[in-house]
Amino acid sequence: MHQTIEKCYISVNVQKADFDINSEIKTIKSNKIIGGIANFTGVVRNSGVEKEELVSLELEHYPGMTEKAIMLICEDAQKRWNLNSIRVIHRVGRLFTGDNIVLVITASAHRKEAFNSAEFIMDFLKSRAPIWKKEHYETHSSWVKNKEVDELILNDW
C-alpha cells in the first residue's frame, strides 16, 4: 500500500518475506532533496525472561486492517514532520532469533525530523498495529503481553 501526501511518498508492506535494508535505502536516496535518513530495524531476540531458549516467534495479524492501521500512523507522522519519504515493512508469520521483524525508514531534509518521526512510528506500531506475538519454547508457548509503558509513552507525543 502506498500514497503520496504533500510530496511525501509513503509505502507500507506487511509480508512474510524478509527485507533488504540497503536496497530500501537506495530507493529512497533516488530523491535528491533528501539530507537525512533514519532507519530502525526490529529483530527477534531471546528475551531471557524464560529459562528456555526461544524456538520461534509467531506474528499473527489482521489481514485487511494491518496495512491500513500502519498507513494511518505514517499519515500522522507526515502531518507532524517535514518528510520526503516513509517506508515501513512489518513481517508476519513464524520467525526465528536474529530474524528481522520490522523496518521503519524516514527521510527528510534534516536529521531531527527523520530521527523523531522514526521513533514516533515505532512507538505507535507497538500498540496501534493489529499484530500479536506468540513466543514458542521447547515445552510451552505464550502470547507476548503488552507493556503498560508502551501505551503511556504515546501520550508524550
Partner: protein, 82 residues
Amino acid sequence: MKILYFSWLREKIGVPYEELEVRSETVNDLINELIKNDHKYELAFEDIKSIRVAVDHKIIQDFNVSIKNAREVAFFPPMTGG
C-alpha cells in the same frame, strides 16, 4: 456480520472468524449476545478490560458505538506489534 477473533481470544473461542446473524446494535450488546449463545464466549470475554475492538478496521474505544451498519467486528487483546 463477520466477527473475527485474534490471538488468545481466537484460541479460546476456537475459530478465527464466524458469520452470524446478530440483532445487537452496539459492541456491548454484541458481547452479551455472544455470551448468551455459548459458554465459551463467557470465558473469552471474562476480562473485558483486556479486550480491544475494531469495527470495520477502525479501533473503537467506546463499546457503546453503533454497529448497525458494520460489516466486520473484530475482538482481540492489546496489540504487540513493532
